[in-house]
Symmetry: C2
Subunit: 342 residues, 2 copies
Amino acid sequence: MPELRHDPVQKRWVIISTERGKRPSDFAVETSAPSGGKCPFCYGNEGMTPPEILAFRNNGSAPNTPDWKVRVVSNKFPALRIEGELDRSGLGHYDRMNGIGAHEVVIETPDHQKDISDLTLEDLSSVFHAYKERLIDLQKDPRFRYILIFRNHGVVAGASLEHPHSQLIATPITPRTVAIELQSSKEHYSAKERCLFCDLMEQEIQSHTRTVVIDDYFITYCPYASRFPFEMVLYPRKHSHDFAALNDEEMFRLARHLKEVLQRMRKCLNNPPYNFLIHTAPSYQYKPRRVGYWMTIELDFHWHIEILPRLTKTAGFEWGTGFYINPTPPEEAAKFMRELSL
Amino acid sequence: MPELRHDPVQKRWVIISTERGKRPSDFAVETSAPSGGKCPFCYGNEGMTPPEILAFRNNGSAPNTPDWKVRVVSNKFPALRIEGELDRSGLGHYDRMNGIGAHEVVIETPDHQKDISDLTLEDLSSVFHAYKERLIDLQKDPRFRYILIFRNHGVVAGASLEHPHSQLIATPITPRTVAIELQSSKEHYSAKERCLFCDLMEQEIQSHTRTVVIDDYFITYCPYASRFPFEMVLYPRKHSHDFAALNDEEMFRLARHLKEVLQRMRKCLNNPPYNFLIHTAPSYQYKPRRVGYWMTIELDFHWHIEILPRLTKTAGFEWGTGFYINPTPPEEAAKFMRELSL
């Protein structure tokens, strides 16, 4: 059973994978690319993954056989385990709980070679449908406070398998990064009765210096205080706190928008390694503990997608301060990507 | 002039190097190792660096000539600039100030090939003397709130030059990571009238499951909630908030202790890329704004060195949550390093 441990100095939880127990020699070799052999995410290899949790299939084909379009399975090497209780306990000055959570993989297409930005709009919409269904299902589990959907592309960005996929991790605590966003947006709403994200979006639309792609439904721009070169953030233009509230039309529009953003990034930066992640509202709205707080989340939070090309390295300064040094002003980054002809 | 920009969502400052302005093609090539050519940190190439700020020299040799033991110069490509005023201003919902600060390089030895852990105790002590002198000098500048000393070893850890060196960056704000530590230690002291770090150290000494090296003056152990495999933290056993308060004897003992720690890490993990960084008290104790707060910093903060081997990658989950997944329990990591014969 993995363990969640709390750092009393940094007030941060860490997942310790006690079972993997990687030894010094396990870190010696840097695999530069997934080696040959059978890909567990390709057609015909469904037996190499845990049984599917959800799949969109053609012609009513049987579960765990080929002929699917999108497939969701448990991660074979999960960071957190689905079975059990949290068993919170103290250990002197430290705090711990069992590593309970969910860790799923969304296999986005049967086509091993296809980049996500080359999927058809219908196929990309199906990926978002899978995200939405899994979010709604996992939000019912009262042990989970937050569900993060994310995607790693390229070895440098942490992708261990080449086949296009995203991941979903449900955690029993609200992660620090999310907690800070919730606090900022709550403070802003309390002071102004306006959504912080809507306000930022409005300023970005007016200045138009950092915009990358904009349409009637979504906007993507390089944040004013970007940590990384060519970092982007995508917002729905209509205020909404919950990714899972997207309807079919909106998911189709999101597919069109994100496809263009990812194509621009890919062409501009020559297929860079990147991460993207969805920040949606936490799921314990289903079990509100402090009613006054959670009553306002629909008003003050605004879901968004962060897109982080991994072109620079984090070094001692970043680890020691939480500060980032970005060598490319977001205004220049946005101009490069916006003016590119696709 | 670089710019400090504030992210209103993550409440985080970022340094935007407007002058460098790296274009997409600048990121294309991943240099795997510093290429040939003259090393600016070697004997005889003193003219390739900015003029020296401090040097420990043999026989009273002239500044900016060979025959030095440790040499401190301004960074040729500084993240922050020393000249000017902060000029804080607002820009709609955003905040900015000029990128004022100091960015210095401590060249630790004239020997290009030498690992820091192979320096003699006298030479390593001289490096700490240089840290101390620069800290004391920069702490006098009222524009600077924090001074971080750090070291990047290996390309993966962000070292752009191979020649052994550390860096020092003075920032005009207290970085978030440090602010959280200050807050935790202040809360602990307020509640218990004991230092948080002393309490943790005591528990670690008693359990002895995560200790790597311990002597009368210092202790190094793998933190209970380590983010990274083989992560370590070094504390002075006698309570002290300020690295610059070390006396000559203590610096010699620190050299002996850190040398052993780095040698163990190097042998155990086959010369891994790593960062180390010193967290000492912030420097604006010299210009206290909230007297009640800063009066207690000598009691509640405890300087320390974090040592972070870079064996794993940070991916979408880490960026999206601030959570880390550590595949090696610190108890196992400490045992490997402690039981190694040097």
